[in-house]
Symmetry: C2
Subunit: 495 residues, 2 copies
């Protein structure tokens, strides 16, 4: 190691430079003025190319390129030497140009859409401040904000008290709940693991989100130990079937511990009958988790909250404000009714380097040990700023409008030739087939359905290549490919 | 349900409004011009209050307020009606003022610091575009970028091929690896779970990150089945001890499946001897995972990559470019040597609504089923843009500089009265005690150490209340509270 004063001829500008191991230490290595200018110029591009165009229906929703073509267009390779600011700004332009505009009024491909300016500002602040939410000392504002938002969400669920945490996705929230229910069922699992235990079994509907299977596999429970409960023709869990399956599991000698109900299924937007399911859970002493990732936002609407009637009886709820409420990817809360510190007991590892107990403030504000993550983003903050800006009334309007738009769309589909509704929607998911003229006179039968199955992918391809619209489709439980449209963007103009 | 043309007197501005369920559907509900203006004004605040002040050592690193005081200052409550833009901008100011400035030159509290302008721009683009990375159709650019970045990181590890995924945190990457190793060991676990299996056992050092315990508990393995291997005085795993523990586990009839080595421990910055550990893993047929969340960035430096000698023999590696390389919270890759699709086989749930097989493009680009998440952020993108901007050489300089600064700091500590080094650092973690004048003449003994233990929290409190510096401290393996300083900010001026 060499530490010393560098020779005059090595110093271009700075006297008394400190040289260690070939590195001149004093003086920043970054040109911060140039960096700031670069940020300013890039922000201008973002404002013009993304934010101001978000409302413009004449823009393309996507500029489709096949993977091999796009690879050639984008200069993806990372090299030994860096690029000029000019080149980098062009790269930013290209990234924007060939990315899908999820805030475009014709983006209906997922269960989120649109742009919320307040959430966006909160996200810019987050990125600039670059916080990590685990201890009060490094994230004082964001931890208090998270606490406030969780408390408010709990009010809407209808619990008197509770706890919660924001997670990177509803899938992760569902995993948390599954693990929490398991811990409550048998706290020794945390230390002992599952190997000597009876087979744990959980119940969820056939229409549940695929994260249930992922969670069961990840947590070591196994997908075969997820008992899928039959649903009715609208996609709602049949309580009598649940009762039967719980009894079957008991007879098999396995250990039922959890029912996951869904409030707003992914494809059909169905709501499981929570009150009746809660009765069964109570009777059998099972944890009730409600995956309201998609449907939870209806709780904000006095008109539509009845869809989740009985949710106050749940032990835990997953709810993603990044979907219908437009809080931005990702904003996902897991709410827990327990207020005895179960979340912390279940998840804590008590790392001494992070959660010191001899701090000068009340360390109960250090909530990082409720999480499976170490560094964690302050996702509650964007929801909070948006809520402050719009008020509960503004959020409520957003929900009411999405559901009114769905009803409008349903009426239009009924009126128009060649469109056929899959079923009368309960929520914002409008599922329908488009039957092209060539099939309209065809007899109902396997051939018709086979041909219809091929229609949605072709239309989707055409729309994407044109850049006119993005719309999800899927086959589902014996039904051939149909479109699923959800209209949640506040930019949407149906007139 | 009522769908109809609304009466003239209800229409202030718009004729032929469509009214459904009390909601006027045509016309956006947002004033987008006002929204854009709000974003512009907020961006100005962010630029002035966060970005331009990042380099200013005369600013406070934090404006400390106790939780109860801060609650009173911030108007946290969310109300029925929204706030004015003026009020909201003031709120943004307050959020910034009372948040810790993690990019401040005197922020040494965690293993990340500083600001990188290119990564920041990429993050602003991400937030504006609001993508979710699961299918090529919705995230074409970001998926190609992720593929490119993973390939490049794999090159630095020294594998000829491989696979990978970006996760929300190194803890999550470690969990992925643990589950992947388990799946490789016994693929039926995915369906069957752990209940009928022998006790699975994994090995990691006493100095490993706490996420190992969290992962073992979450995955149903149990923390008791994590066998902690003794380390030497520098914090490095002792290979002979590992060998002994593997044999002990075999004798007990349990099933060893995984060794987690650490490259850059959290507190001491120690690197486990990967080559010797790899020999043992090979001999016993165990998966070798290297948690290089902190130390992985040294791979970029030709001078320091020897710290990870042998890493090419690992089966998986966790590496967080958001730490020493400044890519922004969070940017965490799990890299996997297997190239036979193990990641997808282990994690897939094949949701038909998302991963349709009849798409018009090559669906092997739809990599979302490699993940436990559904919606996922494009964290590779910020690393990519930064890499494009700085080149490999620029990233290398960042690492070399951090390590040179550590050596400089060590020399200074040795020179200055009242400072005592805990040990000669191997990496960037400089661990030391500050011995106040009152203790300098005291005899070495329990009373001295007890008093010294109380020093760091008091100094930290004083520095935070003054806003002059943030520095981590902890007790560690019998050693009383000491400071851990890591200097990685490119803004840092040591002169």
């Amino acid at each position: 190691m060499e530490v010393g004063i560098c020779k005059q001829d090595m110093l271009q500008k700075k006297k008394n430079a400190v040289l260690v191991d070939g590195v001149i230490l004093n003086g920043p290595i970054m040109d911060s003025k140039a960096g700031e200018k670069f940020v300013e110029e890039a922000c201008k591009i973002i404002m013009e190319e993304v934010i101001q165009k978000a409302n413009d229906v004449t823009e393309k929703v996507c500029e489709w390129r096949a993977p091999e073509t796009l690879k050639k267009i984008l200069d993806l390779e990372m090299r030994d030497t860096g690029e000029s600011h000019q080149k980098l700004l062009q790269l930013c332009q290209d990234v924007i140009q060939y990315s899908v505009k999820t805030s475009h009024p014709r983006f209906f491909n997922q269960l989120y859409a649109g742009i919320d300016y307040y959430s966006l500002v909160a996200r810019f602040i987050t990125e600039a401040l670059n916080p990590s939410v685990y201890t009060y000392e490094v994230s004082p504002v964001f931890l208090l904000v998270e606490e406030t938002v969780i408390k408010k969400m709990i009010e809407f669920i209808g619990w008197e008290e509770g706890d919660g945490i924001f997670n990177p996705g509803g899938s992760v929230s569902n995993m948390y709940a599954m693990n929490l229910a398991r811990y409550k069922f048998c706290p020794e699992i945390k230390e002992k693991g599952l190997s000597s235990l009876p087979r744990l079994v959980l119940f969820t509907s056939e229409e549940c989100h695929y994260s249930m299977k992922k969670a069961a596999s990840f947590l070591g429970i196994g997908t075969e130990n997820v008992y899928f409960i039959k649903t009715d023709e609208r996609g709602k869990m049949i309580p009598e079937e649940l009762e039967k399956q719980v009894q079957r599991a008991r007879k098999e000698g396995s250990a039922p511990f959890l029912v996951c109900a869904t409030a707003g299924t992914t494809v059909l937007g169905a709501f499981d009958p929570l009150d009746e399911i809660a009765d069964i859970c109570e009777k059998h002493g099972l944890w009730l988790h409600v995956d309201a990732s998609w449907g939870g936002s209806a709780l904000i609407s006095r008109k539509h909250c009845r869809l989740l009637h009985g949710i106050h009886r749940a032990d835990s709820v997953a709810w993603n404000p990044h979907k219908m409420l437009l809080a931005g990817i990702q904003c996902c809360a897991l709410l827990v009714k327990d207020n005895s510190g179960l979340l912390k007991k279940c998840y804590s590892a008590k790392a001494a380097y992070l959660f010191q107990q001899d701090k000068f403030y009340d360390v109960s504000y250090d909530t990082g040990d409720k999480s499976i993550q170490c560094s964690r983003r302050p996702d509650a903050f964007k929801f909070w700023l948006m809520w402050k800006a719009l008020g509960t009334t503004g959020l409520e309007e957003r929900v009411n409008r999405a559901l009114a738009l769905a009803r409008y769309l349903v009426e239009e589909i009924k009126k128009r030739e060649g469109f056929q509704l899959l079923l009368e929607p309960e929520y914002a998911n409008v599922c329908f087939w488009y039957i092209p003229p060539s099939l309209r006179k065809m007899e109902d039968g396997p051939e018709f359905w086979q041909k219809l199955h091929e229609v949605a992918p072709i239309i989707k391809e055409r729309m994407m290549k044109k850049g006119s619209m993005m719309l999800g489709y899927q086959p589902h439980r014996g039904k051939v490919n149909f479109f699923r449209q959800v209209v949640i963007s506040p930019q949407k103009d149906s007139g």
